[in-house]
């Protein structure tokens, strides 16, 4: 099959402790690898495409087929370094621009 595989953009919000971009990226990758292994990671190819520190929200780009894999991996995250956290999926979009617009429309919580 030729051509690029379709991507989806998951808008997520972080609740609980404040984490920086690097920590969030690490947390997402670790969770997908923990629950779905390398195959699941390869099938979904998650990438933190955007992160807004003020709104503690961001966008994860992944393959269309891996949306549910990423969603469940995020839902299973409950702790980071002993602190309670929650990553909730707010919306799934087809373009990064729309996803970023949704993140920017959230009210800033500050950090």
């Amino acid at each position: 099959m030729r051509g690029r595989s379709k991507r989806r953009y998951l808008v997520f919000k972080l609740s609980g402790s404040h984490l920086n971009e690097r920590e969030v990226r690490k947390l997402i990758v670790a969770s997908v690898l923990k629950y779905y292994g390398l195959k699941g990671y390869g099938d979904s190819l998650p990438r933190l495409a955007y992160f807004d520190r003020e709104r503690v929200a961001g966008v994860i780009a992944c393959l269309k087929e891996g949306v549910d894999v990423i969603r469940s991996s995020l839902a299973l995250i409950s702790k980071y370094k002993g602190k309670e956290v929650r990553l909730e999926t707010l919306k799934i979009t087809g373009t990064l621009r729309k996803a970023i617009r949704i993140v920017r429309s959230l009210t800033p919580t500050g950090s």
């Binding site: 609740s15 609980g16 923990k34 629950y35 779905y36 549910d68 894999v69 969603r71 469940s72 991996s73 995020l74 839902a75 299973l76 409950s78 702790k79 309670e84 956290v85 929650r86 909730e88 999926t89």
Partner: protein
């Protein structure tokens, strides 16, 4: 329309924050598990009404003795909307699977009791299996836990037993958005539309039982057609 009817009543005895968060995350109704302590039904209904949530009166019965279960069913069936049995013996599990007064069965206290014969009986009598994801969400997944959940879901789906999921959250941070919670089922090997387990299944149980508790219900299969006017 999503329902999480398996929340855990908070230790600090102040569920307001939890209720507010549940509403914000998109739940239409909630219910607390009453295992081990009596719940303040009136205060909870009042608090839920204030927030705009639908409170589901749920009773949890846990015993290894079938006489105790029968007695509780006789006493409370007309008072609560959902009855969940946590069997602790094969006898109790078989009774719960057969008895029409039981709505849901939960095997988290003794997972080994949920086996093919039990699953077949549950499917035959239209009983629903509750899968509480509290341990998985709050304590993190261990291999033993994942195996236990996967086995439960595999058996239920093999025998066509309907599944109902709940978060078992006792703190706002433990709550998950309905679709996020349902998506965890995918990780546990569930095949099919996982959103039904949080919407259609609990809603059907609650609405059927509410209708049965109304004045229009006379006996099984007998309903008052008019409001008593001749």
């Amino acid at each position: 329309m999503f329902y999480d009817i398996g929340l855990t009543y908070p230790e600090e005895d102040n569920p307001r924050e939890l209720l507010r968060e549940a509403k914000e995350l998109g739940y239409k109704g909630i219910g607390f598990s009453s295992l081990g302590y009596p719940l303040p039904f009136k205060a909870l209904i009042k608090a839920c009404n204030k927030i705009g949530l639908d409170y589901v009166k749920r009773l949890d019965i846990s015993s290894h003795n079938k006489v105790v279960i029968k007695e509780a069913l006789r006493k409370y069936r007309r008072e609560v909307e959902v009855i969940v049995v946590h069997p602790l013996s094969v006898e109790a599990a078989r009774l719960a699977a057969r008895d029409s007064r039981v709505d849901v069965l939960n095997f988290h206290l003794k997972p080994e009791l949920f086996e093919p014969v039990e699953a077949k009986m549950m499917a035959l009598n239209g009983k629903v299996l509750e899968v509480n994801l509290r341990e998985l969400i709050s304590n993190g997944a261990t291999l033993r836990l994942i195996h236990l959940y996967r086995r439960m879901i595999y058996l239920a789906q093999s025998f066509k037993v309907e599944i109902l999921i709940s978060s078992g959250a006792s703190k706002p941070i433990e709550l998950r958005r309905p679709r996020d919670l349902a998506s965890i089922l995918l990780f546990l090997g569930f095949k099919g539309d996982f959103r039904r387990t949080l919407s259609e299944v609990p809603f059907r149980i609650v609405s059927t039982n509410r209708a049965k508790l109304s004045k229009r219900f006379i006996a099984r299969g007998v309903w008052l057609a008019d409001e008593g006017k001749i």
